[in-house]
């Protein structure tokens, strides 16, 4: 028996196509990895898969039909966690799903199921953190800009939230790590890349001469508010860090008081 390895382009679509091909070619791979990732098996037979939206759609629809309620997106979120080896876990889960078991997403006694649930929760939590810790800066020309560095690629997951919330406002959310952003203008969001970056690559601060006049005023007021709403007698820095991880501090104007 040969050892098969499936490689794909690293996108979710490519991965789903990979699953489709496993069924199509009747192979049970020992590994499914992104082309760019490293491979553990030396003497395995590699099959490279090109993404195919039609095949991917069929797999995704099949998964949707078998999953219930709020778990429908679980596998996608788990995939976004980019954990090493997550592909095989999803693959084994899908195998079980398609072989007729039902409700397997609640079988937390199974290591794969529990792992996928937890991975998807991590991603959802990171998306929540975007809703919490994104801070827009009002720039000249009226655009509200925020550059931030989420641990996972979650900007697409929160676009809907910001779109509903700031319907009458032009805004741009930029992922500094993955070097792309989503801009909302004229009632529709679209993906953008920026060539001339007029902001800090480290903390997303826009160059001062490009900020709208009121910006400094509101940031100063916000810092004032933040210092004065604190109750000194109850100081608990550990609790603060627990809720608001250090890695976000550089993006938050209120935490720049000391710097």
């Amino acid at each position: 028996m040969s050892m098969d390895i499936i490689t794909y382009d690293g996108t979710f679509e490519g991965f789903l196509t990979g699953i489709f091909e496993c069924y199509n070619r009747k192979i049970f791979p020992v590994e499914i990895v992104s082309r760019n990732g490293e491979q553990k098996h030396l003497f395995a037979q590699k099959t490279d898969i090109q993404p195919d939206s039609e095949k991917a759609d069929r797999v995704w629809k099949g998964i949707q039909q078998k999953m219930t309620g709020k778990n429908k997106e679980m596998l996608f979120y788990a995939f976004l966690s980019e954990e090493p080896g997550i592909e095989m876990k999803i693959y084994r889960f899908v195998r079980r799903l398609f072989s007729g078991y039902f409700n397997i997403e609640t079988d937390f006694g199974d290591a794969d199921v529990l792992y996928l649930t937890q991975a998807s929760q991590k991603v959802k939590k990171e998306a929540m953190r975007m809703m919490q810790f994104v801070r827009f800066q009002h720039t000249k020309g009226g655009l509200y800009f925020c550059g931030i560095e989420p641990r996972y690629d979650v900007i697409p997951l929160v676009v809907g939230h910001f779109q509903k919330r700031f319907a009458d406002q032009r805004w741009l959310l930029f992922d500094l790590k993955r070097n792309y952003g989503v801009m909302y203008d004229n009632g529709k969001p679209q993906e953008v890349t920026i060539s001339a970056k007029e902001f800090s690559q480290i903390n997303g601060r826009v160059n001062e001469n490009l900020l709208e006049e009121g910006e400094e005023f509101y940031q100063r007021l916000w810092k004032t508010y933040f210092t004065h709403i604190n109750i000194q007698e109850r100081k608990n820095l550990k609790l603060q860090r627990q809720h608001m991880p250090r890695r976000f501090w550089k993006f938050l104007p209120e935490m720049m008081i000391l710097n």
Binding site: T106, V134, F166, W222, T224, H228, I229, L239
Partner: protein, 430 residues
């Protein structure tokens, strides 16, 4: 007098508002249907956390800290000599919108000291909410404090614009309220509370029949009590809050550990630090009632006026009722699994779902997030018999407490040193 800048006003007024505990932005799913700014998110969003570890979700400020009352527990009492300021309606509206557009906050929490009379104060607060909704096209969260003694018409209008209303009880028994806040009385606090409850119920009823019926305070109402300023027992407090949940349909009862703000007032106890552990235990009890299907009477029985500061109330319950344990993880009801110390709501839900597929073992429980250090004394699984039998409550308590390293264990926390005449009706527990 020099005119204060907005920044100076905000310094004074947020400083004065920080003792209001409520900072919840949940429970409202107001839609941004006007294509303006803002929407409600049912689960609420915390946007920042201050050094005390409390969440900053709302722009929490007083409209003014001038006050005609002289309540002993309040930093803004009339007789205190401290800087006073008043934000105008426009200033509050601008601040709210400016912060909201930058995603600093989830909404506005507006409270106020009472100027001239309750109606005058309430009227101006309602103006803020009205302007936000109608002029600024704002659909985000608004929490207004109902001023005790304000007219029902104003409270009604406040409820139409706001997502949540609250009236602070502050002191949980009438005689003590009379002692510390002679100008206030219980009926003036309870009557707006009752009115708000009735209007919320009526508006829900209405919404069932007419889709577009106006919603009244859709995120419900809450209240707050100060803990440790007066000699009420924990049992009294818990019974009262459980009563409020039932009769007034409150969403939340907040506890605020008393901070010695007016040291000169001899009606108050001299505390060196706020009773944080006691406050925490009360919140834990509150959680037991709201999420763990506990009844107030189960948390503290008649012979126990105070919560045990060494162990959380859930463990306390389990120790008093060892005969109900161990619980068989693979068979017991959800309610019973919830009562096991070390198992939270999420693990309990996972357990009842997962055990349909296979028998659960201790290893499963560990992976599901159960704190086995505690739970092992109270459960049985399919694999091994755990250490669940043969314990006396005292020994088990000692064993568990010794095993958990907590820097917060202070037994002297509930001490009310200045109430020389206060004596516990019953002997101390330990």
């Amino acid at each position: 007098m020099n005119k204060l800048t907005v920044q100076q006003k905000l310094e004074i007024l947020s400083d004065a508002a920080k003792y209001d505990v409520s900072c919840v932005s949940s429970g409202s799913n107001r839609k941004n249907s006007t294509k303006g700014i803002g929407n409600g998110v049912a689960c609420g969003i915390c946007h920042s956390f201050t050094e005390d570890g409390r969440c900053v979700s709302l722009l929490k400020t007083l409209m003014t800290n001038h006050c005609i009352y002289d309540c002993a527990y309040c930093a803004n009492r009339r007789s205190n000599d401290r800087p006073r300021a008043t934000l105008t309606v426009d200033e509050i509206v601008d601040l709210t919108i400016g912060f909201y557009r930058r995603n600093f906050i989830e909404g506005l929490f507006l409270s106020s000291g009472v100027i001239r009379n309750p109606d005058y104060t309430m009227e101006r607060m309602v103006q803020v909410a009205r302007k936000l909704r109608l002029v600024e096209n704002y659909n985000g969260y608004i929490h207004l404090k109902a001023i005790p003694g304000a007219s029902p018409e104003l409270v009604h209008e406040a409820g139409l614009w706001a997502d949540r209303l609250s009236v602070n009880l502050e002191i949980s028994t009438e005689p003590n309220l009379k002692l510390l806040a002679p100008e206030k009385n219980f009926p003036s606090i309870l009557s707006p509370m009752t009115q708000i409850r009735n209007e919320i119920l009526a508006s829900k009823e209405e919404a069932r029949r007419f889709r577009n019926a106006p919603k009244f305070a859709q995120a419900g109402q809450s209240t707050q009590m100060i803990i440790g300023a007066t000699p009420e027992t924990d049992r009294q407090i818990i019974l009262l809050s459980s009563g409020l949940y039932k009769t007034q349909n409150l969403k939340r009862v907040y506890f605020s550990g008393y901070l010695p703000v007016n040291l000169y007032d001899k009606r108050l106890p001299a505390l060196t630090s706020p009773p944080l552990v006691r406050e925490n235990r009360l919140y834990q009890s509150d959680w037991l009632m709201r999420f763990y299907h506990f009844k107030a009477e189960e948390i503290l029985t008649e012979d126990q006026p105070f919560l045990d500061l060494d162990v959380d109330p859930k463990l306390g319950f389990a120790l008093r009722n060892l005969h109900q344990f161990p619980v068989d993880i693979n068979r017991a009801d959800y309610e019973m699994i919830l009562r096991v110390p070390g198992i939270g709501v999420q693990s309990a839900q996972k357990i009842v779902l997962a055990r349909r597929h296979r028998k659960l073992t201790t290893e499963h429980l560990l992976k599901l997030g159960v704190v086995m250090k505690r739970a092992r004394y109270f459960v049985t699984c399919s694999d091994v018999v755990l250490a669940a039998s043969g314990w006396t409550p005292e020994r088990l308590k000692h064993k568990i407490v010794a095993g958990s390293v907590s820097k917060n264990r202070k037994t002297l926390d509930t001490q009310l040193s200045l109430f020389g005449n206060f004596q516990a009706a019953l002997p101390p527990l330990h």
